[in-house]
Amino acid sequence: MTLAELKRGQQGIIIDVSSIHIPLKLLEMGCLPGNSVELVQVAPFADPMYLNINGSHLAIRKETAIHILIEMTDE
C-alpha cells in the first residue's frame, strides 16, 4: 500500500521510495526505506498529511505520499 492510504493514528514501515518523484530533501529528512512512519493528523480532505517519520515531524501533500510504499504495522 502507499503512504496516502494510511489513516490517522496508524503506523507503518517505509518499503520503497520512488526516486524520480520524491525530492532529495524529503529523503534527507528521514523518508528512507526501513524507517517507521506514523500519520499524526490530516487536514480537511486528508491533504496535506502530518507525519512522524523516524522521529521527524513533517507535512507532505497526498500527491507526494502516493509515491511512497509502506507496510502497515499493527500496534
Binding site: 526516486s19 524520480i20 525530492p23 532529495l24 530533501k25 524529503l26 529523503l27 534527507e28 529528512m29 528521514g30 528512507l32 526505506p33 499524526v40 493528523q41 487536514a43 480537511p44 480532505f45 491533504d47 496535506p48 502530518y50 523516524n54 522521529g55 521527524s56 515531524h57 513533517l58 507535512a59 507532505i60 501533500r61 500527491e63 507526494t64
Partner: protein, 749 residues
C-alpha cells in the same frame, strides 16, 4: 592575540541556531545582505576567555549540503571557498536534542569537508522530559568531534561552548565516515584526475544544481568532464549517499543514544489535536488574527498620539527659538515634519513584528501552513504562501524573500506577484489617518467602526491577493514540479531575547531603510514648495494684503473667525470664574482685541502661504496631475503626495505634513497636528472639505491596490530575475487601483 577566530553556525531550521547566535553575541550583531543577493547575512562578535574574540556568522538553515535554494547555496559557497574572508576556522553544527538523527546528516557532510567542527546539542533541558539520554564520550569518539550540550533557554553550556571555540585548533579534521564507497570506481577516477583536491568538495561541485557563482570556478571548470553521468544517475548516487550516511548515523546512535518512550511526555500531541483540528484550528487562527489587528489599533494609539504632538511642538519650538531664515524653515518644516512621519510608525511596526515573531518562534506558523495548504492550492498558491502573505502585512520585501522555501516555481512566482496586495506597514499610517478623518467613531457589537474598517482593508488586501492569484493560476500555463515538505517543529515558549531582538532589528531596518527615503523626499518636497515659478510667488504678500484691503474677509472666513472668537471669549470668562484672580472688563476686552488681531493675521498669513504654495514648483506639479485625479476626488495637494509616494507609500503622510506645515501658519493648538490640518483642509473654490467619506474611501482603496514601492519592485526584479514581472505588477496594480478608486468616489459622492 589579535587574530579573530572565524566561526560559522550551521544547522537545520528550527534547531535554535539563532538562539545560540544570540546567546553568543548578544547585542554585538549586525544584519546585512550577502553582496549581490538578498540572502540575509547575520554576523556578530563573541568575546571568548583570555581576550580572544570570535567572529560569528549565522548561516541560513539547511538540511544538507545539497543546495536547492539560494539560501542554502550561501552555506556551501562559504564552506568551499577558502579565500572568502568569512571562511570558517571552525564550524559549529547546531542540532536540537530531539532531532539528532536528522541533524547528524548535515554534520557528517561538513566533516567530510575536513573543517574543524563542534557539535552543539541544543534544548538539552528537554532531555529528561523526552526520556533521552546520551553517551557523550562515545559520540565524540565516533563522530570525531567535541560536543557541547547546551540549553539556550536555561542559559546552560554557553561558557563551555566558548571554551571549545577557544581551543578549536585542537579539533580533529578527520571525516567520521567514508561516503565514496557508494561508487568506488567513479570516485577513484575523480581522485586520480584531481589529486590535490578534496574528494568530497569535487563531489559537491558536480552535484549542485544551483549556479555556483564565483567559487574558484576556474579550478573546477574541468570538472565538467566528470558530469558524464546523467542527471538521474547523479541523483541516484546522492540518494545512495544519503542512505549510506543514515546507516552510519543509525549505528552510532544505537549505542550513543537511548530513548525511553515510557517517560517521554508529549505536549505536541495534545496541542496539535486542537490547533490543527478541522474546525477549532481555523477558528483559533481567526481569533488570533482578529486579536492582532485590534491590538495594533488600540495599543499603539497612545504612543502614536504622543509622538504626533511631540514632533509638532518640537517643530514649533525650533521655529520660535532659532533665528528666522531658510535654514530654520527647512529644519522645522522639512526635516522635523519628515522625521515625525517616520517615527510615528514605530509603535505599530514593533507590535506587528512582535506578534509575527511570537507566532514563528512558538512553532505555530507551521501549523497554519498545514491548515491552509489545501485552501491556498485552490488559488494556485501553497500553504507556505501564508507566511509571505502574513509577513506581507509587515513589509512586502521580507515577505517576498520568504517565498524562497516554496518548492514549486509557479506557486512561488504567483506568491511573489500577489504579495504586494497585502496591507503592509507602510499603508497602515495612510489608512489610520484617513480612517480617523472620515470614518465615524461609533461602535457595533463592542467593536469600533474604525478598527473594523481597518480590518476590512486588511481583508480586501488579502482578498485581492488571493483573487489575483486565482486568475494568474488560470492564465499562466506553464507546469512546474511541485513538492511540498514542511517541518512541524515542536511547540516552544518563545524566548524573550529572540523576540526582542527580532522586533528591534526589524524596526531598525524600517526606520533606517524607509526612513532615509522619506527624509530625502520630505526635504525635496520642502525645497520644491519653497521655490517660486512666477511673480505671484514673490509678491504673494502684497497681493493678498491688497485683496484684503479691498474686499475684506470672505463670508466663510468671517464665520470661522466669529466661531473662534466666541470660543476664546467663553474660555476667558470660564477661566475668570474658576480662578480667584478677577479680570476687569477692560482687561478682558483688551485681551480680546489682541486675540482678534492675531486671528486675523493668521488668516492673512495662511492665504499668503497658500498662494505661495500654489505658485511654487510643487504647486505646478500638483496642478499638472490634478485633472487625472480630480475624478477620484483628490485635489492637487493630495496629487503631490500621491506622486511622491510612488517612491514609498509611507511618504504620503510625510509629504502632506510638509505641504500643510508649509501652507499653514495658524498658531492655535488645534491646528498643530497633521490630522487636524488635514481635517480643516478645504477646496479653495467650492469650500467643501477635501477629506470626505467619498474621497477618503477612494483614497483608501487607491492605496490598497496601487503598486507604490520602488524597493518592492527592485526585490521582485531580483527574485524573478526579470524586469517583466515587476513592470507588470506596477502597471496592472496601479491601473486597477485607479479604476476602483474612481468607481468608489463617483458612487459615494
Amino acid at each position: 592575540m589579535s587574530k579573530q577566530i572565524n566561526v560559522a553556525l550551521i544547522g537545520n531550521p528550527n534547531t535554535g541556531k539563532t538562539s545560540v547566535f544570540n546567546a553568543l553575541t548578544g547585542l554585538n550583531q549586525k544584519v546585512g545582505n550577502y553582496p549581490g543577493i538578498t540572502v540575509e547575512k547575520k554576523e556578530g562578535i563573541c568575546k571568548l576567555p583570555r581576550g580572544v574574540k570570535a567572529h560569528i556568522i549565522d548561516l541560513p538553515g539547511t538540511y544538507s549540503l545539497n543546495a536547492s535554494s539560494l539560501d542554502e547555496n550561501v552555506v556551501i559557497e562559504l564552506l568551499l571557498n577558502k579565500n572568502d574572508k568569512d571562511h570558517p576556522d571552525v564550524a559549529i553544527v547546531v542540532s536540537d536534542v530531539e532531532n539528532l538523527k536528522r541533524n547528524l546528516l548535515l554534520f557528517t557532510q561538513i566533516k567530510d569537508l575536513q573543517i574543524p567542527t563542534i557539535l552543539v546539542i541544543n534544548m538539552s533541558d528537554r532531555m529528561a522530559y523526552k526520556g533521552i539520554s546520551l553517551d557523550i564520550a562515545y559520540l565524540e569518539k565516533q563522530l570525531e568531534t567535541k560536543i557541547a550540550l547546551i540549553s539556550t533557554r536555561k542559559n546552560k553550556g554557553i561558557e563551555e561552548l566558548k571554551e571549545l571555540i577557544t581551543h578549536s585548533k585542537e579539533l580533529s579534521t578527520k571525516p567520521c565516515m567514508d561516503a565514496s564507497t557508494i561508487d568506488e570506481a567513479y570516485f577513484n577516477n575523480l581522485r586520480k584526475a584531481f589529486p590535490n583536491q578534496l574528494l568530497y568538495k569535487l563531489w559537491l561541485v558536480i552535484t549542485q544544481d544551483v549556479n555556483f557563482g564565483k567559487t574558484d570556478r576556474k579550478t573546477f571548470d574541468t570538472v565538467e568532464d566528470f558530469k558524464t553521468k546523467s542527471k538521474a544517475d547523479l541523483k541516484r548516487l546522492q540518494q545512495k549517499e544519503t542512505i549510506k550516511r543514515y546507516q552510519f548515523i543509525n549505528e552510532t546512535l544505537k549505542k550513543g543514544q537511548t530513548i525511553d518512550l515510557k517517560t517521554a511526555k508529549d505536549l505536541r500531541i495534545k496541542l496539535d489535536r486542537i490547533l490543527t483540528h478541522k474546525v477549532w484550528g481555523y477558528l483559533i487562527f481567526g481569533v488570533i488574527l482578529l486579536t492582532i489587528f485590534q491590538a495594533i489599533y488600540d495599543w499603539s494609539s497612545i504612543p502614536m498620539d504622543f509622538i504626533d504632538s511631540s514632533f509638532a511642538s518640537l517643530s514649533e519650538w525650533v521655529k520660535n527659538t532659532l533665528p528666522e531664515g531658510a535654514f530654520t524653515n527647512l529644519l522645522a518644516e522639512g526635516i522635523i515634519s519628515g522625521l515625525g512621519g517616520i517615527v510615528i510608525f514605530i509603535p505599530q511596526i514593533a507590535f506587528l513584528f512582535l506578534f509575527i515573531s511570537i507566532l514563528e518562534e512558538s512553532g505555530y506558523m507551521s501549523r497554519v501552513v498545514f491548515l491552509m495548504d489545501r485552501i491556498m492550492r485552490r488559488f494556485g498558491l501553497s500553504g507556505k504562501s501564508v507566511v509571505p502573505l502574513i509577513s506581507g502585512t509587515a513589509c512586502a520585501i521580507p515577505a517576498i524573500m520568504a517565498t524562497r522555501n516554496i518548492e514549486s516555481w509557479k506557486e512561488r512566482l504567483i506568491t511573489i506577484l500577489v504579495t504586494p496586495f497585502t496591507t503592509c506597514a507602510a499603508r497602515l499610517p495612510v489608512y489610520l489617518i484617513i480612517i480617523e478623518l472620515v470614518i465615524p467613531e461609533g461602535r457595533i457589537f463592542g467593536l469600533g467602526y474604525q478598527p473594523l474598517t481597518l480590518m476590512l482593508l486588511y481583508l480586501i488586501g488579502f482578498g485581492a491577493a488571493v483573487g489575483s492569484a486565482w486568475i494568474l493560476d488560470r492564465i499562466m500555463k506553464f507546469k512546474s514540479k511541485s513538492f511540498f515538505v514542511v517541518e512541524m517543529p515542536n511547540y516552544k515558549l518563545p524566548l524573550f531575547k529572540n523576540v526582542a531582538l527580532t522586533v528591534l532589528e526589524k524596526t531598525k531596518a524600517f526606520v533606517f531603510g524607509a526612513g532615509k527615503i522619506i527624509l530625502a523626499i520630505s526635504i525635496v518636497i520642502w525645497v520644491l514648495g519653497s521655490v517660486g515659478v512666477n511673480d505671484k510667488y514673490d509678491n504673494a504678500k502684497s497681493i493678498i494684503t491688497e485683496q484684503f484691503d479691498a474686499n475684506g474677509f470672505s463670508d466663510i472666513q468671517n464665520i470661522s473667525l466669529e466661531n473662534k472668537i466666541e470660543r476664546y471669549t467663553k474660555d476667558l470668562v470660564g477661566a475668570n470664574a474658576k480662578n480667584s484672580i478677577e479680570l476687569s472688563e477692560l482687561q478682558i476686552s483688551d485681551s480680546l482685541h489682541l486675540k482678534i488681531d492675531s486671528f486675523k493675521k493668521a488668516v492673512i498669513n495662511d492665504e499668503i502661504s497658500s498662494l505661495k504654495l500654489e505658485n511654487s514648483i510643487l504647486g505646478y506639479i500638483g496642478k499638472a496631475v490634478e485633472p487625472a485625479i480630480r475624478p477620484l476626488g483628490y485635489d492637487w495637494k493630495i496629487g503631490i503626495a500621491i506622486v511622491s509616494s510612488f517612491a514609498a507609500r509611507e511618504v504620503f503622510i510625510g509629504t502632506l505634513s510638509t505641504i500643510y506645515s508649509v501652507g499653514s501658519e495658524m498658531e492655535d493648538d488645534e491646528n498643530k497636528t497633521i490630522r487636524s490640518k488635514m481635517n480643516s483642509e478645504r477646496h479653495p473654490h467650492t469650500n467643501k472639505k477635501v477629506f470626505t467619506l467619498a474621497s477618503g474611501i477612494s483614497l483608501l482603496l487607491f492605496y490598497a491596490f496601487a503598486m507604490q514601492c520602488m524597493s518592492t519592485l527592485a526585490i521582485v526584479k531580483r527574485e524573478t530575475n526579470s524586469w517583466k514581472w515587476p513592470i507588470l505588477q506596477l502597471v496592472i496594480m496601479t491601473g486597477f487601483a485607479y479604476i476602483v478608486a474612481l468607481i468608489a468616489f463617483q458612487v459615494l459622492k
